[in-house]
Amino acid sequence: MRPRLGVDLAATFNLVGGLVKYLSLAPLIPAAVATGYGESPAPFLLATAIGFFCGWTMERLSYGKKQVGMREGFLVVSLTWLLAAMVGALPYWLTAEAQFASPVDSYFEAMSGFTTTGATIVTDIEALPHGLAMWRQLTQWFGGMGIIVLALAVLPRLRVGGRQLLETELPGPEIQEMTLRIRETAQRLWLLYIALTALMIVVLSVIAWTGLDATMSFYEAVAHALTTLPTGGFSTRARSLEEFGAASQWAIAFFMVVAGANFALLYRAFFRRQPRVFVRDEEFRLYLVLLMLGAALLAVELLSEGVLRGEAAVRHSVVNAVSVMTTTGYASADFNEWPLLAAIVIVALMFVGGSAGSTSGSVKVVRHLLLGRILRRELDQTVHPEVVARIHFNRRAVDERIVRAVSSFVLLYVGVFAAGTLLLVMDAARVDSGIGLLDAVAVSASALGNVGPALGVAGPMGSYETFSSLSKGLLIVLMWIGRLEIIPVAIILTRGYWRV
């Protein structure tokens, strides 16, 4: 007898197939770029064909009038991201490019792209053809605001039952209930995302044309805008932002700060002209304070150790603190070579993250804020057992279910991070790669937080190429779990999820 299953697999595959089908159209953009630069568009066209066929087949095989419910949502989102990265890996693998010889490497690069991590296995980025380089940037841009959010915005079939999908994919706890229709929410988010990307392209282009930065060009402006707003961190240069001038670095730092802010606030500030929402929002205030604190700590360390001085010390502190905390992952200097204390500040910032409702990864500022309040209440109630207190955020009481969700999220996050670190260390010992404990801590935190660069060989100017395939597999899983904020993946791993 077949075991009774509580999850509608046919409906799940049907929807995932449909999503993959549409997503496989994305490589047509780099195909155009490749043609424009006189390169062969064949790998991209082939990737589209394969992806479209697979998606279409999946959809066909599970054909029926089945609607996914809230329960299937977790599986849909988890599977979509795994498969999306596979589609994303096809162009790398199909190109005759020696750096992507192994399928694991291609998959790693694609997963790092879609999850906006920014970790790369490429050692010589400048050698990549333009089409492929643009595809790397584009995967981050699509992944940043979310594949499913995009689908919700444009596909009519997701109108019903999409709320769960949206909430599962959007980063951060849902403290304020969304009152808008989901389609409208998704469209607004994408509209703002596109507008901000365009604005950044304009700003960087102006810097290029006015000659403020000789390295900057229109191509670089587009490439970096595509990976700044999703807090991705892929660069067209192996030495990341180091090769750009101070003006570009400051401009990119500014847009990283924007990308790490809550998009709902940005929407209200720019489209509704209510700039005061920033002042009123407790999370945004703490976000800025933490950014400044991180940058100040780095600056003090760099100046006192005499590593850098003057404007350069301030600039590199700000750019790198912002880059790591917002989980973007650019670097304007090789912080791998900075003193140990600075390295530890960098690792600590990896656990902060940006705001809820931004494109950033990691724990996120609001959870730190709430966790602090939760712990304070817990301690208070130990001394005063009768005290009844609610956790408030932005002057409103937070639902106790969200309070519990925040605590369990942080617990899971730390647990997965620790497990990841241990496994990396064990694998490093197995192949004798010489990756130490601090490096493993940084790599695990960086992958789970979707940051990108870490310390050691995986430092900002290095690459993940030297890691064993097993470790790369582990990091792919960490990036995937981190992007989906652990809970959906954890849920589908429970027995209760599958049973009737």
Binding site: H384, E386, V387, V388, A389, R390, A397
Partner: protein, 462 residues
């Protein structure tokens, strides 16, 4: 004047008792027994029926009435009755009693077309806050949901303090007082360090009123009236009377509507409030609605709790539970543990005396307070007048600025300095204490301090 009263409960009968001598009263209620009891005691016509019915209102003679008092215990009945009354007879003034503070806010926003809305909870809370209030104040009153406070002080000449010189505490206080005098008292106002978010509305020197222009000074022996935020009122109190002990810690038993309203008003004044509530649901609601108060889910009656949570350290305790007997017991218990000042909210009017005889410092009956407020209005139903100070020499008005007012857009610095003063603006529900560059916007609600004789001029200008 003919008055129609809807509701013959405690509020209704108290109102009738106070007004039946001078006025021609008709009382409407559903309960025949209550009506006949009322008719026996007072000279009033009675009518059995639903007050929210047009027919009954017509029958009661609403067309000839000068005033409708809707004071049943149900908000919706009161509001519907007032709406019908306004439709049938627009000249008849209407007073609505409510238990929901939201209706009060709606009325303040001029969205409810009646002359007065009285909330028992709010009135009780204000009565409590006036009892605990601002030390050294002769009289206080709050506006805009407690965000604006008006306080009247007598400025001491400082001699009283100097007599106590030699004692260490008095020594320190004297220093503080000297500082106050150095920075505020005796200095021209434009140089004085006046607490932020406050204004001197008037200086009364003997029989004359001094308009507080920048070159005037507060002298010892003056009586001054201050408009400002609750914090500013406390700051003034520290300047005027540094030795008076301030109530900084209050315990409230019971998180019902009255308890919560009291907590809100006290918290606004910067007082530390602890709420004790046995019902978990209500305790949760209190923690949600008054985040700055500390809420305990406990009966508050057991000694272990009182000891452990140092309830006895509170300088005052308010008992706002539903059951009078419980309030009585808890108040006595807390008093035994050393809380110096106890205020009980009493639901049965006859119990007030019992409580005060038994050693509870003050017993307040919300219905009596409400009735008093209604009677005060019935005696002098001038619209928008909120409070009088110094007998009836000054009035404080709470007015929404008309869109066609000539004062709109004029910076405060250029407004004429007369006996009237805009002490605060309530803009989008928040109190703003205007500075020289601020301007009035349409829709602003202003708290105006003025001499009574200038009221018509002020009302016209705004």
């Amino acid at each position: 004047m003919k008055i129609v009263v809807i509701g013959a409960g405690q509020v209704g009968s108290t109102v009738v008792e106070a007004l039946h001598d001078e006025h021609d009263i008709t009382v409407i209620d559903l309960d025949e027994e209550r009506l006949s009891a009322l008719a026996e005691r007072f000279d009033a016509a009675v009518l059995v029926g639903n007050g929210a019915s047009r027919r009954i209102l017509e029958e009661a003679g609403i067309r000839k009435a000068g005033l409708l008092i809707a004071c049943t215990s149900r908000d919706e009945i009161n509001i519907i009755a007032s709406i019908f009354s306004k439709r049938i007879s627009p000249e008849t003034k209407a007073v609505v009693r409510t238990t929901d503070e939201e209706y009060l806010d709606i009325w303040h926003e001029r969205e409810l077309d009646v002359e007065l809305v009285v909330s028992s909870e709010r009135e009780t809370a204000l009565a409590v806050s006036q009892l605990i209030g601002v030390p050294a104040a002769r009289q206080t009153d709050v506006f805009a949901e407690g965000q604006v406070q008006i306080v009247e002080f007598d400025v001491d000449s400082g001699d009283r303090l100097r007599q106590q010189a030699g004692r260490p505490l008095a020594e320190a206080a004297l220093q503080a007082a000297d500082q106050g005098e150095e920075h505020v008292i005796g200095l021209p106002l434009r140089q004085a360090q006046i607490p932020p978010n406050s204004k001197v509305a008037s200086i009364i020197r003997g029989d004359t009123i001094v308009v507080p222009r920048g070159d005037e000074a507060i002298e010892p022996g003056d009586r001054i009236i201050i408009i400002g935020s609750p914090e500013a009122a406390q700051a003034w109190s520290r300047i005027i009377a540094p030795t008076e002990s301030r109530v900084e810690d209050v315990v409230i038993y019971g998180a019902g509507r009255t308890g919560l309203a009291t907590a809100r008003v006290l918290v606004e004044q910067g007082i530390r409030v602890r709420i004790v509530e046995a019902n978990r649901e209500r305790a949760n609601k209190a923690a949600e609605e008054v985040p700055t108060a500390r809420v305990f889910c406990a009966s508050g009656m057991d000694e272990e709790f009182i000891e452990r949570e140092r309830i006895n350290k509170a300088q005052a305790a308010v008992f706002a539970m539903r059951d009078d007997a419980k309030n009585h017991y808890a108040a006595t218990l807390v008093k035994l543990h050393g809380v110096p000042f106890t205020i009980a909210i009493v639901h049965d009017a006859r119990s007030v005396e019992v409580f005060e005889r038994a050693g509870i410092d003050v017993a307040l009956n919300p219905r009596l307070i409400t009735a008093e407020e209604i009677v005060r209005f019935a005696h002098d139903p001038r619209t928008q007048q909120v409070t009088m100070l110094e007998g009836d020499r000054f009035e404080i008005l709470d007015i929404t600025v008309r869109p066609e007012s000539k004062l709109l857009g004029t910076p405060f610095r250029d407004l004429p300095q007369t006996g009237a003063l805009i002490g605060a603006i309530v803009r989008e529900g928040k109190a703003v204490f205007p500075h020289g560059d601020d301007v009035l916007l349409p829709g602003d609600r202003v708290i105006v301090f003025t001499e009574s004789k200038r009221v018509p001029i002020v009302e016209q200008a705004l």
